[in-house]
Amino acid sequence: MEWLNTLYESFYNALVPEQRYLAYLSGLKMTLLIAFFAVLLGVIIGMVVAVLKVGGRNSKNPLLRFLAKVGTFYTTVIRGTPVIVQVLIIYNLIFTSPDTNKIIVGTVCFGINSGAYVAEIIRAGIESVPRGQMEAGRSLGFHYIQTMRYIILPQAVKNILPALGNEFIVMVKETSVISVIAVNDLTKMAQYVGSRTWDIIPPMVIAAVIYLIITLILTKVMGIFERRLSQGDHH
């Protein structure tokens, strides 16, 4: 029974004194904010890159063809290198001032990362819409972008949204990497608590449990959302 007592005490120390539970909460808030805005930025980047890649490939316009190549280069580099290396490069490249807003730092780092993955998600979503839809839109006189906007993308969304939700869940976990540039996310706050109590394992276990709870909740929410989407299906 002795060890149970020790265990209880070490977790108590990691949570209660000096209102340490607040540290986890503020870290969690940072993690969720960065993940949310990063995916948002990722969606904006990803949408542009995906449309360029799908539309620019066979375009007659040399500028569009060039931009499609740039898009391919971007997704290849981002998906082919570790996120921690990307974070260190982007951080030291752009955010040289120490007092930059940490949420912005995280959003930009992970937004650029997420954009590459989201671009592939959106590209696959667009390509899942039958070719005839584009032809029908064009035959009515819509130009390419209008057809995308009114006809293709609204249909692609049904395939894109579940994968996008998944991307957000991945991002919640992935942002833990940001602690290497001293952003106070959940992982970093757990490390702080560990350095105060001289006992790193209990705060890390607590952080792990919080991550797990959040991802389970998000998965559940996505499931409900997906069922709603397929209910609206008229096929």
Partner: protein, 241 residues
């Protein structure tokens, strides 16, 4: 209305259209027949540049639409197209399918759109389906809605790409009937089809395309009664029983 001059199309090394010269006059109903892979659908799709010709010219109402500087989107508004696979927008209701282009491209008001959709749905005999989704309709009904969608832009010519080939046999009639009515109203039509009965009854001119060229063209009477080209004779003997 539409003139093609030495129209050519190649997919890679494969030459599909080997020079087609055609004059399609206002009010004509041109029916295009031919074996599969002959290039008849490609010919039709070149008329509104859904396929980019690799040679020759397409002139629509005096404008060379194969010239890269012409605004093809503006011209396509005047050329309705009906597809084999209907290609209705599955995420929109029948009414929205019909009114999307007029609202976004012509800027008509919601009230005008409502009237337009009502008028067209009455015309195709589906007034009760305004708020249905395409997935809830039969194939024949979907194709009729697709025709209404094309008509909503008030086009000068209608292009039909095998409009009945994807339909169950019992639904072919209703679509052909609607096309006949359209023809009687004086619409200029170019129809790629395997429906020889329709060609005989409605066409003002029938083209036989084979191996990428027009092998024979004539008024339907002579075309079917007295075909001169060997390939056409062979083709007709197989499709007319």
């Amino acid at each position: 209305m539409i003139i093609t001059k030495n129209l050519q199309k190649a997919f890679g090394d494969h030459q599909v259209l080997c020079g087609i010269d055609q004059h399609i006059e206002k009010g004509e109903k041109v029916v295009v027949i031919g074996p599969s892979g002959s290039g008849k659908s490609t010919f039709l799709r070149c008329l509104n540049l859904l396929e980019e010709p690799t040679g020759g010219e397409v002139i629509f109402e005096g404008v060379n639409i194969t010239d890269p500087s012409c605004d093809i989107n503006k011209l396509r508004q005047q050329m309705g197209m009906v597809f084999q696979q209907f290609n209705l927008f599955p995420h929109k209701t029948v009414k929205q399918n019909i009114t999307l282009a007029p609202i976004k491209l012509k800027g008509i008001s919601q009230q005008e759109a409502d009237e337009l959709s009502k008028r067209l749905l009455d015309r195709i005999g589906l007034p009760e389906k305004a708020n249905a989704y395409p997935g809830q309709l039969s194939g024949g009904q979907q194709q009729r809605v697709a025709i209404a969608r094309a008509l909503a832009m008030n086009p000068k010519v209608m292009l039909f790409d095998e409009p009945t080939s994807a339909l169950d046999p019992e639904m072919v009639g209703e679509v052909l009937e609607l096309m006949k009515e359209l023809a009687e109203d004086g619409m200029t039509m170019v129809v790629v089809t395997h429906e020889m009965g329709f060609a005989k009854e409605v066409a003002t001119r029938v083209l036989f395309i084979d191996e990428g060229i027009v092998k024979e063209e004539n008024r339907p009477m002579e075309f079917f009664e007295n075909p001169k080209n060997d390939r056409l004779r062979d083709f007709l003997s197989k499709v007319l029983h």
